[in-house]
C-alpha cells in the first residue's frame, strides 16, 4: 500500500501472475497447420477465380454498358436553372437560352414562349407557342429533334435556323442558316426540305400558300434531281418518309388519276393555286380522287377546299382521310380540321364540338389541343350550354394557365 498508486500495484501483481502462469503454458507449434490452411485457401481462390471469370467478364461488360450507354439529355434555362420537360418558358425583354447537355441550344427570343415537351437521349421535342426561336442543334448520329409551332412541325438533325410563329396571324416563318430541315404542316404536304440559306413563310390567314425563297444560293440548296421542286417553291425539295406507316405508303404510291397527278396536286398546293387545284379535282372526279389519294394529298386537297371556301369538299377529303388512314397521325389532325370547318360555318357548333372532342380524345396533349379546347368552349357557349363551356374553359386554363387564349377562357368561365 503506502504511497504506491493502487493501479500500479494491482496491475503489476496481475502481470506477475500472468507471467508466472504463462511460464507453465506451452506456446503452440502449429506452423504446419497454418501452411496447409494457406495452401488450401490459395487453391480455392484459384478455382474460384477460374469459375468466376465468365461471370466477372459479364459483370464488367454490364458495368461498362451502364456507364457508357447514352443517357437522356438534360437542359438548363438561362445561366443555371435546371430545365424540366413540360414547363412553360417565357422570354420577356431579353432572350432566354436553353442549353442542352449535348451542346445544342434553343434560344427563345424576346416575347417568345414555349416548352420542351419531351426529352430523351436522342434529342427533344419543343413546342413554340409564339414568337421567334433560334435553334442550333449539334449534329450527332441518331439525333432526333423537332420543333412544333401551331400546326407546323420542323424535323431537325443538326443545323441552325430561326423559326417564328404568330398565333394571331397564323403565320409560320423559317430561315435555315446552316444544314437542312424538313417542315410539314398545312399546304406543305408530307414535308418540305429547306437547305442552308433558304427560308419559308406560310400565312394561313392569307390563304395558306407556302412561299419559299432562296436568300443565298449555295450548292446544298439546289433541289434534288430525283425530286423536282414545285413551281412556287423552286428552292424547296420534298421529303420522302421511308418509315412512316400507312400514310406514307400511300404517299409513295401517289394518286395517278387522269387529269392530275399527285405531283401536280402538290405543286399547285405549294403555289397556293387552290382554285385551279379544285377545278382539276372536280374535273377528274372529286370523290374518285378522295378514294385513291394518299393521306398527305387528302390533307392538301382539304386545305385547298378550305382556303377556297368549299367547306363541304374540305369535309369530304378530311372524312376520307379519317376513313382510309385511321391509324395515321394525320387522321387526328383531320378531326381537328373537321371541327374547325364546322366551327367556321357558324351553324354547326354541335358538330364542331363533337370533332374537337374527338381530337382531344385521340391527342390529349397534341400541339392543337389548346386550340381545340378553346374552340370547344366557344362552341358550347354558342350552342347555349354554358356549363359545358365553363368546363372546357377550365380544362384549358388548367393546362395552359398562361396560354394565348387564357383571357378568352377566363371570359368563358364567367
Amino acid at each position: 500500500m503506502g504511497s504506491e498508486p493502487a493501479l500500479k500495484r494491482l496491475a503489476a501483481t496481475l502481470a506477475a501472475a500472468r507471467d508466472a502462469e504463462l511460464a507453465h503454458l506451452a506456446v503452440p507449434q502449429a506452423a504446419e497447420r497454418l501452411i496447409l490452411g494457406a495452401q488450401k485457401r490459395a487453391r480455392r481462390r484459384l478455382a474460384l477465380r477460374r469459375s468466376a471469370l465468365p461471370g466477372l467478364l459479364a459483370a464488367l461488360a454490364l458495368t461498362a454498358f451502364l456507364l457508357l450507354r447514352p443517357r437522356a439529355l438534360s437542359f438548363q434555362v438561362g445561366a443555371q436553372s435546371p430545365g424540366h420537360a413540360g414547363a412553360w418558358i417565357s422570354a420577356q425583354a431579353e432572350p432566354v437560352p436553353l442549353v442542352f447537355s449535348d451542346g445544342s441550344r434553343l434560344t427563345l427570343q424576346a416575347e417568345a414562349r414555349g416548352r420542351v415537351l419531351d426529352i430523351d437521349r436522342s434529342g427533344a421535342r419543343f413546342v413554340l407557342e409564339r414568337g421567334t426561336l433560334s435553334v442550333a442543334v449539334v449534329h450527332r448520329a441518331a439525333a432526333r429533334w423537332s420543333v412544333v409551332a401551331g400546326p407546323f412541325e420542323v424535323q431537325v438533325t443538326g443545323t441552325r435556323f430561326d423559326l417564328s410563329w404568330s398565333l394571331a396571324d397564323e403565320a409560320f416563318e423559317l430561315t435555315s442558316l446552316e444544314g437542312a430541315v424538313i417542315v410539314s404542316g398545312p399546304s406543305l404536304g408530307t414535308g418540305q426540305a429547306l437547305a442552308s440559306g433558304q427560308s419559308l413563310r406560310v400565312a394561313l390567314r392569307e390563304g395558306g400558300g407556302a412561299r419559299a425563297a432562296e436568300t443565298s444560293a449555295t450548292p446544298s440548296a439546289a433541289p434534288s434531281a430525283a425530286e423536282p421542286a414545285s413551281p412556287a417553291a423552286s428552292a424547296v425539295t420534298r421529303r420522302g418518309r421511308a418509315s412512316a406507316p400507312e400514310g406514307s405508303s400511300a404517299s409513295a404510291r401517289p394518286a395517278e388519276a387522269p387529269g392530275m397527278t399527285s405531283r401536280e396536286l402538290r405543286a399547285l398546293s405549294a403555289a397556293g393555286r387552290y382554285a385551279e387545284l379544285l377545278e382539276q379535282a372536280e374535273r377528274q372526279g372529286f370523290s374518285e380522287l378522295c378514294a385513291r389519294a394518299s393521306a398527305a394529298d387528302l390533307l392538301l386537297l382539304a386545305d385547298a377546299a378550305r382556303f377556297s371556301g368549299r367547306a363541304e369538299r374540305a369535309q369530304q377529303a378530311l372524312l376520307a382521310l379519317r376513313g382510309r388512314f385511321a391509324r395515321d397521325a394525320r387522321a387526328r389532325t383531320a378531326a381537328f380540321l373537321l371541327g374547325r370547318v364546322a366551327f367556321e360555318r357558324g351553324d354547326a357548333d354541335a358538330e364542331a364540338a363533337r370533332w374537337f372532342e374527338v381530337y382531344l380524345d385521340e391527342e390529349p396533349s397534341g400541339s392543337l389541343a389548346g386550340d381545340a379546347l378553346i374552340r370547344l368552349a366557344e362552341c358550347r357557349g354558342r350552342s347555349g350550354d354554358p356549363s359545358a363551356a365553363r368546363d372546357a374553359a377550365q380544362r384549358y386554363l388548367s393546362l395552359y394557365p398562361d396560354g394565348p387564349h387564357a383571357e378568352r377562357a377566363r371570359r368563358l368561365q364567367r
Binding site: 500500500m1 503506502g2 504511497s3 504506491e4 498508486p5 493502487a6 493501479l7 500495484r9 494491482l10 496491475a11 501483481t13 496481475l14 502481470a15 506477475a16 501472475a17 500472468r18 508466472a20 502462469e21 504463462l22 507453465h24 503454458l25 506456446v27 503452440p28 507449434q29 502449429a30 506452423a31 497447420r33 497454418l34 501452411i35 490452411g37 494457406a38 495452401q39 485457401r41 490459395a42
Partner: protein, 194 residues
C-alpha cells in the same frame, strides 16, 4: 530473412516464409493474447486464428518495417473477437458472471492470489474495448500512442475507452472486499477520488 522479404514470401504463399513468420512471432502473439484473455480455454484457438487472420490480410500491410506491431494489432483484434463471442455466448446461455468458468491464476502469495482472482473476475465483466484498453495500458504498461495504434483508433478515442474502463473497473471493484482493501490506500482509485 528481413521483414520485407518475409512479407513478400508470406504474400506469395511460400511454405518456408510462412514457417519462418510463425516461428518468429508465435511467442509474442501468445503473450499478448494471454495478457488480454488470461488462461482461457480458447487461447490456443485464438493463437491460430490470429495467424490465420494475419495471413489473409497481410496483403494490406503497407509498411513492411512495421510488421511486428501490425501483427500484434491483428492479435488484439482477434482477442476482441474472442471476448465478444464469449459475451454473446454468455447472453445466449443466460449465465450469470459468477458462474462463468473460473480463470485460474498462479499467484505468488495468498493475498496477491485473491487480488489477481478478483481483478480477473472484474476484467471479465468489462466490454471488449474497455478490457483491452485497460490491459494494454495498465497491465502491459504500453504508452497511449502505442496502445491506440494497436487498437487502430486515435489516441483520443483510446483515452475515452480507457476512462470508461477505469470508471467501470472501480465501480465493480467496490463490490469486492479484497480489491477495496487494495484500492483504499491508492491515490488513483481511492474513495476520496469519487
Amino acid at each position: 530473412m528481413n521483414d520485407a522479404a518475409l512479407v513478400e514470401g508470406v504474400r506469395g504463399g511460400h511454405a518456408l516464409a510462412i514457417a519462418v513468420f510463425y516461428e518468429r512471432f508465435r511467442r509474442r502473439v501468445w503473450h499478448v493474447l494471454h495478457r488480454l484473455l488470461g488462461n482461457d480455454p480458447e487461447l490456443s484457438d485464438a493463437h491460430h486464428e490470429a495467424f490465420e487472420r494475419a495471413l489473409r490480410s497481410i496483403g494490406g500491410l503497407r509498411d513492411t518495417r512495421r510488421l511486428e506491431s501490425w501483427l500484434i494489432g491483428v492479435a488484439v483484434f482477434t482477442a476482441r473477437s474472442v471476448i465478444q463471442r464469449r459475451v454473446r455466448r454468455r447472453w445466449l446461455l443466460f449465465m450469470p458472471p459468477e458462474k462463468l468458468p473460473e480463470c485460474h491464476a498462479v499467484a505468488t502469495s495468498g493475498e496477491s492470489s485473491e487480488a489477481v482472482r478478483a481483478t480477473s473476475a472484474v476484467l471479465e465483466q468489462l466490454g471488449a474495448d474497455e478490457r483491452i484498453a485497460f490491459v494494454l495500458r495498465f497491465v502491459e504498461g504500453m504508452e497511449l500512442e502505442e496502445a491506440a495504434e494497436l487498437c487502430r483508433v486515435s489516441v483520443s478515442t483510446f483515452k475515452r475507452r480507457l476512462s470508461r474502463a477505469e470508471a467501470r473497473f472501480v465501480e465493480l471493484a467496490r463490490d469486492s472486499a479484497v480489491l477495496c482493501e487494495w484500492l483504499e490506500g491508492g491515490s488513483r482509485w481511492g474513495r476520496n477520488q469519487r
